[in-house]
C-alpha cells in the first residue's frame, strides 16, 4: 500500500496531482520551470504542463507574490516558490498585509487561496541572511496558515491540503530533508491528504515528550534512540506538522502522559513556535507538569557560516539529549 519516495519527489507528486486536478492551479517562482527548480522540487513539471501552468519569474519576490495574491482574488490558485523562505524579507508586505488581511479588511468579500512554499532552514552553510526560520513569524499573523512537513508522506499530504485550502498557506520545507526517503501511500488508495492542524506522534514514549516540527523531528527521533539506548529514557516524539492551525489537543495529551516536556525548535530562542507551544502548555496543563518546560533552539546569534560549527548552532541530537538529561 505504499512506496518509498524522497521528500522532494513526494512534494513533486503532490504538486503534479493538484496541477492535474484543477486547471486554475498555477506554479511560479524563480527557476521553477525551465531550470527545474533550484532544489529540483518542480523537476519535469514545466515540460509536462507547459509555460501557462508552470513559469519562471524575475527576482522580484514582492512583485510576483503580490501578483499571485491579486490573481487568487479572481479565482486563480497560485502556488509560488520562494527559492529560500529567507527571501520573505523582500516580500514581507505582500505576505503579511495583502495575503493575511485582504479578507478581513474587505469584510469577507475577497479571499486569497494561495500557497507559498520553499525551504526554510539553517544548516546548509549559506550564512545569516539565507538561514531564517520563519514559521512563528508568519503564524503570528491571523489570516495566515503555516505548516512544516518532516517526512515524505507528510510533505505530499500537506502540500495537497495547502493547495486545496481556501486561505493563504505557507509551506515551510527543508533543504536537508529533500533527499530523505520514506513511505508514501500508493496512488491507488486515492488522494493522500494530511489535513492542516493535525499533529502526529512519530514515536511513542512515556517519560518525556519531545515536541518539534520540520527537521527538528528527525533530530528528536535520533535523540530518542540515544536516550533509550544509553539512559533508558523513553521519549515520545510529537510532530506538530502544522503550526497554524495548531493541534493543541495532541500537545496537551502527550504532556498529560509524560509530565515532562522538551520543545525542539530551529528558531532563535526569543520567540519561535516553541515559546508559543510552551505558553499554551503551562496555561492548559499547568498541573500536569512535573518540571519546567525546556527548549532546545538555535544558539542565539545570526546563523554562522562555518561548516565546522554550524551544526552545533542548531538543535541536534547531542544538544537534545543533554537537555532531556537536565530534566531527569
Amino acid at each position: 500500500m505504499s512506496r518509498t519516495l524522497t521528500y522532494r519527489a513526494a512534494l513533486r507528486e503532490g504538486l503534479d496531482e493538484e496541477l492535474a486536478r484543477d486547471p486554475n492551479v498555477v506554479l511560479f517562482g524563480e527557476e521553477v520551470a525551465q531550470y527545474n527548480g533550484a532544489y529540483k522540487v518542480t523537476e519535469g513539471l514545466w515540460k509536462k504542463w507547459g509555460s501557462k501552468r508552470v513559469f519562471d519569474t524575475p527576482i522580484s519576490e514582492a512583485g510576483f507574490i503580490g501578483m499571485g495574491i491579486g490573481a487568487s482574488m479572481l479565482g486563480v490558485r497560485p502556488v509560488m516558490e520562494l527559492m529560500f523562505w529567507s527571501f520573505h524579507s523582500v516580500a514581507f508586505d505582500q505576505l503579511v498585509n495583502n495575503a493575511a488581511c485582504v479578507r478581513y479588511m474587505s469584510g469577507g468579500l475577497c479571499h486569497c487561496p494561495i500557497v507559498v512554499r520553499g525551504p526554510a532552514n539553517g544548516g546548509t552553510g549559506v550564512g545569516a541572511t539565507h538561514s531564517h526560520i520563519p514559521e512563528a513569524l508568519f503564524a503570528a499573523f491571523p489570516g495566515l496558515k503555516v505548516c512544516a512537513p518532516a517526512t515524505p508522506a507528510d510533505a505530499k499530504g500537506l502540500i495537497k491540503a495547502a493547495i486545496r485550502d481556501n486561505d493563504p498557506v505557507y509551506v515551510m520545507e527543508n533543504t536537508l530533508l529533500y533527499g530523505n526517503s520514506g513511505e508514501v501511500p500508493d496512488l491507488e488508495i486515492g488522494d493522500h491528504i494530511v489535513p492542516l492542524g493535525m499533529a502526529d506522534i512519530k514515536r511513542q514514549g512515556t517519560d518525556v515528550s519531545l515536541i518539534a516540527h520540520g527537521r527538528s523531528v528527525i533530530q528528536c527521533l535520533a535523540a530518542a534512540e540515544i536516550l533509550q539506548a544509553e539512559h533508558g529514557i523513553h521519549c515520545e516524539v510529537l510532530d506538530l506538522r502544522s503550526i497554524r492551525p495548531l493541534d493543541q489537543d495532541a500537545i496537551l495529551n502527550t504532556v498529560r502522559k509524560t509530565h515532562r516536556v522538551v520543545l525542539v525548535d530551529e528558531s532563535k530562542p526569543f520567540g519561535g513556535v516553541s515559546a508559543m507551544v510552551g505558553m499554551l502548555i503551562q496555561e492548559h496543563a499547568f498541573d500536569s507538569l512535573d518540571a519546567p518546560i525546556k527548549r532546545v533552539c538555535s544558539i542565539d546569534a545570526p546563523a554562522i557560516y562555518s561548516p565546522h560549527i554550524e551544526h552545533e548552532q542548531l538543535p541536534n541530537p547531542k544538544r537534545i539529549v543533554a537537555k532531556v538529561l537536565t530534566l531527569a
Partner: protein, 358 residues
C-alpha cells in the same frame, strides 16, 4: 498637479467621446457631483467625530476615476490606494454602504472592518482600497494576470499616487507587466504632492513620472485630469491595448486635491500657496469645466445642473442617516472574516486551533 496648459486638442471629438449619448454625458457629470457631495458629507461627519482614523478626500480629482471607469466593460477590473471614495462610487457602489463603512457600521461595504481606506466591491470588479503605499500595484498586476490566465478579454486599471512611484514594488510590477505582457493599465494620479512633499522633493525625474515606463519598453502617456473627455480618450487607448494585445501602459493623469492629504493634515495650506489652490479651483475644476461644457453644448441648464447637485446632496444626507442608524459591529464580529474555511465552517476549519485567544 496640473502644469498642463489648457487643452489644444478637443477630446470631446474623439470617437470614444462622440459615441456618448447625451444622457451618458450627463451621467459623467452626475457621478462627479455625487462623489463630491458624498465627500463633503463625509468631511462634515468626520469633523463631527462620527468616524475613526483617516479621511483622504478625493475632491478635485473626480474626473480621473469617473473618466477612466466610465470606459469599463464587464471584464475590466479596478484597484486603488486609500483615496478610494471616488473609484468606489464610480464603479457603482452605493453611498449607503460606503458611508456606513466610514461610520464603522455592520452595514458598511466591508462590515466596518476596513474603514475609509478599504472599500471593496468584488461584485463590481472593484478590489479596494489599500493603505500601504503602492502595495496594491502587484495586486493590480495580479488581477490582470488572472484575466489573461482565465482567458477573459479585459484589463485591470491600477491607480497609484505620485508619491507611490518611489516604492520598489511598483517597479517590480512594471517590469513584470512588460515582461509577461499583462493587460494592466497603471494610472498615476498625480496631484503634485505626497502628503506635504511636492513631486520635485520626492522624485528624481526628467520630464514626467510616466516616462519611467519607457526603459521597460512600456507605452506611456500624460493626461490632463481636469478634462474628463481627455481622460477617456487617452485611457481608452491604453485599455484597448491591454484588452486586445495584452500590453501594459503607464498613464500619468495630472490632477489636484483641494483639501489636505487627509483631513488630519494641519499643514495643507503651508506646503502649497493659497494661489496655487485657488488657481486650480478656478481654472481646472473638473466639475466646473464639464458643467460649463454641457451647458454650452445645450445638454444642461444652470437649473438642471443645480438640481443634480441638490439630488446628490440629498442622497449623501440619506446615506449619513443610513450609516448613523445602522448597527455597530459586535464583539463576535471581530473574529469573523479572518479565514475563509472558518467562516464557511468547513471540515478543515474544525481541525486544530486557529485562534489563540485565551
Amino acid at each position: 498637479m496640473s502644469s498642463v496648459p489648457p487643452p489644444a486638442l478637443d477630446f470631446a471629438t474623439s470617437a470614444i467621446n462622440q459615441s456618448l449619448s447625451s444622457s451618458q454625458k450627463i451621467g459623467l457629470f452626475t457621478l462627479m457631483v455625487r462623489i463630491r457631495r458624498f465627500e463633503q458629507a463625509a468631511l462634515k461627519y468626520y469633523n463631527a467625530g462620527k468616524m475613526g482614523g483617516f479621511l483622504h478626500l478625493y475632491i478635485g480629482q473626480e474626473a480621473v476615476a469617473v473618466g477612466t471607469i466610465s470606459l469599463a466593460g464587464p471584464n475590466d477590473h479596478f484597484i486603488t490606494a486609500y483615496r478610494d471614495h471616488g473609484h468606489a462610487l464610480a464603479v457603482g457602489m452605493g453611498m449607503n454602504e460606503c458611508m456606513a463603512e466610514m461610520f464603522g457600521k455592520q452595514s458598511g461595504c466591508s462590515k466596518g472592518k476596513g474603514g475609509s481606506m478599504h472599500f471593496f466591491a468584488p461584485d463590481k470588479n472593484f478590489w479596494g482600497g489599500h493603505g500601504i503605499v503602492a502595495g496594491q500595484t502587484p495586486l493590480g498586476l495580479g488581477l490582470a494576470f488572472g484575466l489573461k490566465y482565465l482567458e477573459r478579454e479585459g484589463c485591470c486599471l491600477c491607480y497609484l499616487g505620485d508619491g507611490a512611484v518611489n516604492q520598489g514594488t511598483f517597479h517590480e510590477s512594471l517590469n513584470l507587466s512588460g515582461l509577461f505582457e499583462i493587460p494592466v493599465v497603471f494610472v498615476i494620479e498625480n496631484n503634485g504632492y505626497s502628503m506635504g512633499t511636492s513631486q520635485e522633493r520626492s522624485s528624481a525625474y526628467s520630464g514626467c513620472l510616466a516616462q519611467r515606463a519607457e526603459a521597460y519598453g512600456i507605452e506611456w502617456d500624460v493626461i490632463d485630469g481636469s478634462d474628463v473627455y481627455e481622460v477617456r480618450a487617452k485611457t481608452h487607448i491604453a485599455m484597448e491595448r491591454a484588452r486586445k494585445q495584452h500590453k501594459p501602459t503607464l498613464l500619468e493623469i495630472d490632477t489636484y486635491r483641494y483639501y489636505g492629504h487627509s483631513v488630519a493634515d494641519a499643514n495643507a495650506k503651508k506646503y502649497r500657496t493659497p494661489e496655487e489652490i485657488e488657481n486650480y479651483k478656478q481654472n481646472h475644476d473638473p466639475i466646473t469645466l464639464l458643467r460649463r461644457r454641457l451647458i454650452t453644448d445645450g445638454l444642461l441648464t444652470e437649473a438642471s445642473a443645480d438640481a443634480i447637485h441638490l439630488a446628490a446632496a440629498e442622497e449623501a444626507a440619506a446615506a449619513v442617516k443610513f450609516a448613523d442608524e445602522s448597527p455597530i459591529p459586535t464583539l463576535a464580529d471581530i473574529s469573523t472574516d479572518v479565514y475563509w474555511e472558518s467562516d464557511h465552517q468547513t471540515p478543515a476549519s474544525k481541525i486544530g486551533r486557529h485562534f489563540f485567544n485565551d
